[in-house]
């Protein structure tokens, strides 16, 4: 029972990281209607920035995280401006292929800059953990921080899109860019802001991910990126609570599958669940399907 609980907590922790990445995917998809496959690699860049800030410049972890957020935000805005904005009128396939290109570009640039030798990410949480039942149930500080970060981000985004003028403008753009422009909303600036927010979230996710799984290589962001994309689709792409739910479920399923069925097959099982969910409910768990009167 305690082992089960341990796995469950680990699953939620991993799921929280997926959820933070998935929120970035889902926001960009919601507004720009594109799948930013380079999102996972922004995570990797964020982790490297934090790694060097802490290990080479001896900054405290919080400043390392801040540096990662600032640089990833800039990176997100630059990627959007250079790679995606010129394709605003192009077919979605062209944009998708460009995103894959950006993804490989980032991975290879990272390999060139930082080599493919794994960097061992420092443990920011100093191994602090709550131990219960004679050490059979362990909740690390890292786990608690990860879950708390996910909840705070989720609440902040919900308030932002629901209550603020900029957030509402984002929702307006996500529905109808032409009509949004007629309202005086600067659509390009709104898309840029969305990329900035998504990339800042990617930086947070990168630092949390490498704190839990400390081996950092240029492809570190790739698999979590794909899984978070899966989580976003699983929960209903475009939906903020959907990204949270999808991410957490995916993390829990992955950990349980690895613990009770097979470690090798855990990824296969994760994607199998996705396929089943999409067969039954094509819009994802919380996907929007609004009935419109004409």
């Amino acid at each position: 029972m305690l082992t089960f609980l341990n796995h469950f907590i680990n699953g939620i922790s991993l799921g929280s990281i997926y959820a933070i990445i998935a929120l970035g995917y889902t926001m960009v998809y919601g507004i720009a209607k594109m799948l930013n496959f380079a999102h996972g690699d922004v995570i990797m860049v964020g982790a490297y920035v934090c790694f060097f800030a802490v290990s080479a410049f001896n900054l405290p972890p919080v400043l390392g995280l801040l540096a990662a957020i600032v640089l990833c935000t800039l990176l997100g805005i630059i990627i959007e401006r250079l790679a995606y904005k010129p394709l605003r009128q192009a077919t979605s396939l062209a944009v998708l292929i460009t995103a894959i290109g950006v993804s490989y570009f980032l991975q290879n640039a990272a390999q060139l800059l930082w080599t493919s030798n794994p960097k061992i990410f420092p443990d920011f949480f100093g191994g602090i953990a709550i131990k219960m039942f004679d050490g059979q149930l362990i909740i690390t500080l890292g786990t608690l921080v990860t879950i708390a970060a996910c909840i705070i981000i989720m609440i902040a985004l919900t308030v932002f899109t629901g209550q603020t003028k900029m957030g509402k403008a984002m929702r307006a753009c996500s529905e109808d860019k032409g009509a949004a422009q007629l309202m005086g909303i600067n659509v390009n600036a709104t898309i840029s802001t969305t990329f900035a927010i998504g990339s800042a979230l990617a930086a947070v996710a990168g630092v949390l991910l490498c704190s839990a799984y400390p081996s950092l290589v240029p492809t570190t962001g790739s698999m979590p990126g794909i899984k978070a994309f899966t989580a976003a689709v699983f929960g209903g792409i475009g939906s903020i609570p959907g990204a949270l739910l999808g991410g957490i479920l995916l993390g829990v399923i992955e950990i349980f599958a690895g613990a009770y069925i097979s470690t090798q097959l855990s990824n296969a099982i994760v994607f199998l669940v996705l396929i089943i969910v999409l067969l039954v409910k094509p819009t994802g768990l919380l996907g929007k399907q609004i009935r419109e009167k004409v």
Binding site: Q181, I290, R291
Partner: protein
């Protein structure tokens, strides 16, 4: 107030608008009528900056609009109610109105919302509802209310009667005349030529991207050509 001179608009290789010029003076109701596909909506989209003309010029309140992006045109005093309403279906009625006031300072918004609710009491009843759940007539009212939130000097309406029952069409046209009396200049695009001509000071008839006739609303309503082509004999 609005002066459009010799605009030519293309969709790829299709020449949609061919050298169109027209004017709207302060305080007028001007209508552009014509069959489906004549280019009426394209003209409005070009005026509000969503499409661009290869030639000619568009000036509003003596200011050239060339090179001004669409999102900056609203604050100059021009609002466009697009064809098919295009309200934000997943946002509430009130949020839609807030978006209409996007370019205005936050402090003035609630007073304007109250004004719109006074003109359209139905919207007030449904203020917390998602716009997608409104009926067609209510959505048209919301689209008009949303445009009024920017306090426009020129209101451009694209097919406001489309898909509505005769009673609702009459209601919408009554509101257009009320807005006109309150001092708003109106550019009305309509397929319902009879209704449009009955309220318009002046009218232009559009055919395959060209203006083929123009005159006062009364003149055109009496013209044999118009009667044959648009008013059913």
């Amino acid at each position: 107030m609005l002066k459009v001179e010799d605009i030519n608009v293309y969709y790829g290789s299709i020449h949609a608008i061919k050298g169109v010029s027209f004017e709207v003076h302060q305080g007028e109701i001007v209508t552009l009528i014509g069959a489906n596909g004549a280019g009426k909506s394209t003209i409005l989209h070009t005026v509000s900056g969503l499409l661009h003309s290869k030639t000619g010029s568009i000036s509003f309140l003596d200011q050239d609009l060339a090179g001004i992006p669409a999102h900056k045109i609203v604050s100059k005093g021009m609002a466009h109610v697009p064809e098919g309403r295009r309200v934000f279906l997943q946002m509430t009625v009130e949020e839609n109105l807030e978006m209409g006031a996007f370019t205005r300072p936050g402090g003035e918004v609630s007073a304007s919302i109250a004004d719109v609710y006074e003109r359209f009491p139905r919207l007030k009843e449904r203020r917390k509802q998602i716009a997608g759940t409104l009926s067609g007539g209510e959505q048209q009212m919301l689209a008009m209310g949303r445009a009024l939130m920017s306090k426009p000097k020129l209101l451009m309406l694209d097919e406001p009667s489309m898909g509505l029952s005769p009673i609702l069409v009459q209601q919408i046209f009554d509101i257009i005349q009320e807005l006109h009396k309150a001092g708003t200049t109106i550019l009305l695009v309509e397929q319902n030529a009879q209704m449009a001509l009955s309220v318009a000071d002046r009218a232009y008839v559009l055919e395959s991207g060209k203006i083929v006739l123009s005159g006062t609303g009364a003149e055109l309503a009496e013209s044999d050509e118009i009667k044959k082509a648009y008013l059913g004999g």
